[in-house]
Subunit: 308 residues, 4 copies
C-alpha cells in the first residue's frame, strides 16, 4: 500500500508503555495499537513527543518500530519520528526507523545548536535526499525553540522535499497559511498536533490530526473527524468540547513537584492503565511519577467523560 497523499484522518502519536524497569512493554504497546485500530484511527505515529521519543534509547526506538510494524502488517500507515539534534544524527535515525519498517519519517528543525532559516532548509533537503520514504516536518517550537516559517514549509512542499507537516505550534493563524498555501501542492499532508482545536483545524482545511489524547479516546477523535468531514460542525464542536474537558487530565500533576511533560504523559499513561489497555503507567526518567491521589483524579476525569 503506497503512503497516502495526502495522509488524512486521525493519526495518534502512540504512547510507549514501559515496564516498571523502564523497558519497552511490547505486549502493552501492541494492545495499545489494537485499541487505536479498533477506535478507527487512520495511521500511527511512533516515536513522537507523546511517545517519549526524547527519552527512549536507540535500542528502544528500534524495538517500538519493529514491534508495531510487524503487528499492523500494512493495515494502516506507520510513521516514525527521527528526533535528534542535527542532520547527521537525524540521518542515522532515518536509516534505523526505515530499516525497521517505518513508511514515513517525521523530522523537527535542528535543536540544541543555534540554527537559521537557511540551515533548516538545508537540513530538510539533505534528509529528504537520503530518506527512502516521505519526510514530514514536525513543527514543535516548545521543544526545539524554533518555529518553522510558513513560507519555508511551502517552498519545501513545492520542491517535493517535504511530504507534509505536523504542526504542534499552537499557532492556528500560521497553520492556516500553510493549509491554504498547500492547496497548490496536492498530496502534501497538513496535520494539526493540537488536541483542543481539531475541529477548527479541519474547518479551515487541514487533512488530519495527530492528537496525543487520542491514545486515551481514539473513538472520540475518530467521531470528531467524521463529523467534521460530514460538515456537522455543531456536533463536532460538542464532541471537541468533550475532548477538551478530558484533556484537563494533563494538569493533574502538582507543578511544585514536576514539569508539564511528567504531568501530561503521566496522565495519558495512567488513563491507559485505568482503562485496562496497558500494564503499567510508568514514564521514562527523569520524569516524576504521578502520586496515587493524582492518578485517582485522572480516573475521575475519565469517569466524567464516560470512559471508565
Amino acid at each position: 500500500m503506497p503512503f497516502p497523499t495526502p495522509l488524512t484522518g486521525v493519526v495518534p502519536p502512540v504512547c510507549t508503555p514501559l515496564t516498571p524497569e523502564r523497558e519497552v512493554d511490547v505486549p502493552s504497546l501492541l494492545r495499545l495499537v489494537d485499541h487505536l485500530v479498533d477506535g478507527g484511527v487512520h495511521g500511527l505515529f511512533l516515536l513522537g513527543s507523546t511517545s517519549e521519543a526524547a527519552f527512549l534509547t536507540d535500542r528502544q526506538r528500534g524495538q517500538v518500530v519493529e514491534a508495531v510494524v510487524a503487528h499492523v502488517g500494512g493495515q494502516l500507515p506507520v510513521l516514525a519520528g527521527a528526533i535528534d539534534m542535527t542532520t547527521p544524527r537525524v540521518l542515522d535515525h532515518v536509516r534505523a526507523v526505515t530499516a525497521a519498517g517505518a513508511e514515513a519519517v517525521v523530522v523537527t528543525a535542528p535543536f540544541y545548536a543555534r540554527t537559521h532559516r537557511s540551515e533548516i532548509v538545508h537540513h530538510y533537503r539533505r534528509i529528504a535526499a537520503a530518506s527512502p520514504v516521505p519526510v514530514i516536518a514536525y513543527d514543535i517550537p516548545v521543544a526545539v525553540h524554533t518555529k518553522l516559517p510558513a513560507d519555508v514549509v511551502l517552498g519545501l512542499a513545492a520542491d517535493e522535499v517535504l511530504a507534509g507537516i505536523k504542526d504542534s505550534s499552537g499557532d492556528l493563524a500560521a497553520f492556516r497559511e500553510i493549509v491554504t498555501g498547500a492547496r497548490a501542492h496536492p498530496g502534501f499532508s497538513v496535520l494539526t498536533g493540537s488536541e483542543l482545536i481539531v475541529d477548527s483545524a479541519l474547518a479551515l482545511g487541514a487533512d488530519g490530526a495527530v492528537p496525543g489524547l487520542a491514545n486515551v479516546d481514539p473513538h472520540g477523535y475518530v467521531r470528531l473527524y467524521r463529523m467534521c468531514r460530514a460538515g456537522d460542525w455543531e456536533g463536532a464542536r460538542v464532541e471537541q468540547e468533550r475532548l477538551c474537558a478530558l484533556f484537563g487530565m494533563v494538569t493533574v500533576g502538582d507543578p511544585a513537584r514536576m514539569g508539564g511533560s511528567s504531568s501530561a504523559l503521566g496522565a495519558f499513561k495512567a488513563a491507559l492503565h485505568l482503562r485496562g489497555v496497558i500494564e503499567c503507567g510508568v514514564t521514562a526518567e527523569p520524569q516524576v511519577p504521578l502520586s496515587g491521589e493524582e492518578v485517582e483524579r485522572v480516573g475521575k476525569v475519565l469517569a466524567a467523560a464516560g470512559l471508565l
Copy 2:
C-alpha cells in the same frame, strides 16, 4: 593519574576537524591536540558544543574519544560530553565515552522535553549513580533553554553527585554564587565557559576556564590564566582584551545567510586551517560554510592578533 579535584586551568573544548566528506579527520584532530598541549593547556574537553557534539553521530563521537585518549596517554585529563536529551539517552553516551577512555563526563540539563527543577536533580542523581567517572554539570541555557539554578548545583555538590560545573550561561552574578558557595565543597570544580571574561571569573574564584577560542590561541589563554594566578590583574586584563578582539572572528559570517553556530565554529575552524593546524575548515551539516571572503576576514583578525 586520578582526576584532579578540583580541575584547574585552561581546558579547551576541542574542535572536531572534519574531512570534506564530513568524516572525523583524525590526523588533524591529533595535530590540534598537540597544538593545545604545546600551548600548555591543563585538560581537554571533547564532545562539547564547540566540538560540534550536537552534529556528530554516535560512531563519530566514539572515534573522537578513542583517538584522543590513545594519543594523550594520560598526560592530561580528558573530559567528554555526554550530550543528549534525557537521562536514558545520556546514560548510553556515558557508557560509550567512558568505555572509550573519558575520565569525566559533562552533562547538560534535559532538553527537548519540558523539564523541571526536580527532574533536573533526579537526572543528575541517576547519571552520577551509573557513571564510573566524575560527572560535571554543563550549564548552557542557549542550547538547552534552562538555566541550572545555583542552589540546585550547590546541593548536588554537597551530596557529591556533581564533581564540578562548566558554566556557559554568561551570567557572572549567578556564577559567583556557585563559586562562593562551592568553597564549602573542596574538590568541586567551577569552570567558566565564557571566552570574554575569564579574568573576571578567575578573579572571583573560579578554578579554570573552558574557552572555545583556546583552540585558536591556547598560548594566549594559558598566559592569561597564569597572570591571573600570579595576581597580575592588569596584565591579565590586557591579555583578555587581546583575546576579546580575536574573538571578534565569530561574527564574520553573514547573518542573512547563516546562524551563529555556522559563523562561530566556521571561524574557529578557518583559523585553525589558516594557522596550519587542521587540514580543512569544513563544519558539520546543516551548518553553512563561510565564503572565501569571510575566511579572508578571519585571516585578517588572526594577523591583527599576531597569530599569522
Copy 3:
C-alpha cells in the same frame, strides 16, 4: 444606551491618523470612524495597540477619545485602552478616558516590572473597583510578555471584576477554554484580536472580533461576522481567506530596515490613505516610514482584494 452584555460583532481597534508633524489628525480620524460605521461595525476600540496607543502622549490620547465620542454620539459603543505599566498609572488613564466619554476600558496585565499571577489579579481588582465603566482584559503577550491564564480570567469573570476579554495571544486553544468557561457568566464578552482566524473563533463561540485589519476593510469583516452568525461556514471561510490575503500587506516593510510594528501599522495607514480615508499615512516615532515602493506594494495588495 447601556454597554452591551456581552459586546458582540466587529469592534475595530481604530487607527489614529497623524499629520506630517505627528499630531492627531482629527478630521481624518472622524472620516475613518465614518468609514467604519458605514461598514457596519458594532463598536469602536480606541487607544489599542493598532491605534498606536503606546506612541500617543496623554494629551493626544485625550484628543482621540473626546473627538470620537462627540462624533458618534452614542450610536455605537466606544471602548478605550488604558495602556500603561502598572495599576497607579493605569488608574490615571482610566480616569482620563472615562472623563472623555469612553464606555468601557481595556487593560493589559502589568508590564515593564516583573509580575505574578497574584499581582495580575490584584491589578484588575483595583482597577475595576475604581473604574466607573466596565473593565475588559487585554491579553497581548507579544507586548506585555505575560499570558493571562484562562483560570485567572474566568475567576475574575465570576467575580464580575472583568466584563470581557480581548484576546490577542494567538493561542486559540487557550481562548477556547475561556469561551467555554465563560458560558457560566452570561454577559461576559469574549473577543478575539486575531485578524486571521475570526471564523474559527466565532465557530467555537466567541462573541466578536477586534481585528486591526477591519480599519482597511470593515465591510469584509462585517460580512464575515454575519456569515458566521448565519451558520454559513463555507462562505465565511472564503471571506476569511480573502481577508488573510489582504493581511499580507503587514509584511510589506523591509525587515532589514524596520520592525514589525512599523511595517504593519505603516501598511494599514498607507492602505487607508490610498483608499482616500485619511490624509496622511505617517506613523508615530520611532517607527520607520514605508518607502514609496513599499506603499506601492500595499496598493497592489488592495487592488488584488478589490479594494482600490
Copy 4:
C-alpha cells in the same frame, strides 16, 4: 556644576518611600537621600526601576524629582529616568523631569510595541535632539525585552547622542565590549547596574555602578568602589561578597504568593524601614506586601551583615 564627563562612582537608583496610602513620603525620601549622601555616594539616580518608576504616576514622578533636587542643591549630580514606551511619551517625561531639575535623563529602548535596531537608534537620536541635558541609555532587557547591541551604543556614543549607559543586562561580556569601545569616546559614562559584580565591572574599566542595594548599604558600595579604584582587588572581593550575601534579602518573598519585583523592592524598603531611614516599607500596587515573617527574615539578613 557641569554634569561629570564621565560620571564615576556609586550612583544609587533611589528607592521611593511611600505612605500607607501609597503617596510619595517626601520626608522619608529626603532622609533616604541624606543617608545616601552621608554614605559617600557620587550621584543620585531617581525614577529608575528600583525607584518604582513604572508604578509612579506622572504627578508622583514630578514630586520626587522636585523634592530631591531642591534638597541636594547641586551637591551631587541628580539623574532621572524618563521611563515610558516610545519616543513621544518619553519626550514628555524628559520635559517634565528636566523642568523639575534633573541634570541627566536615563532612557530605555522602546517597549510594549515591537521594536528594531534602526528604531532604537532613531529613538535615542530624537530624544537627544530634544533633551536639554545629557541622555544616558538604560539597558534593561528584563523589563523592555530588548538588549541594546554594543555597536549601537558605541555608534551613538561616537555621535555624541548618548552620554553614557547604565547596563542592567547582567551580560558582563557585552558590557566589556562597551567599556573597551568607549575608550575612544572620553567623557562617555559606562555604569553597571548589577549589584553582584561591581568589582568585576570596575576591574575591566567601568566608570561606576548603579546598585539598587546601595539604598540599604551605601557605605558598603562606596568602600567597594574605593578599594577597586585603589587596586585593592582582594579587599574589594571580600566587600563585594559581603554585599552579595546582603543581596540575598531579595528572595525573601514567597514565590507562590508574589513576583520578583514585590520581593526585591519589598525587601529593600523593609530594610530601610528596619534601619530607621524610612517611615513605612510599603511598595506600590499591584505589588504584594511582604508578610511579617518575611520582614523578620530581612532583619536577620541585615543583622548578619552588621547593619542592624
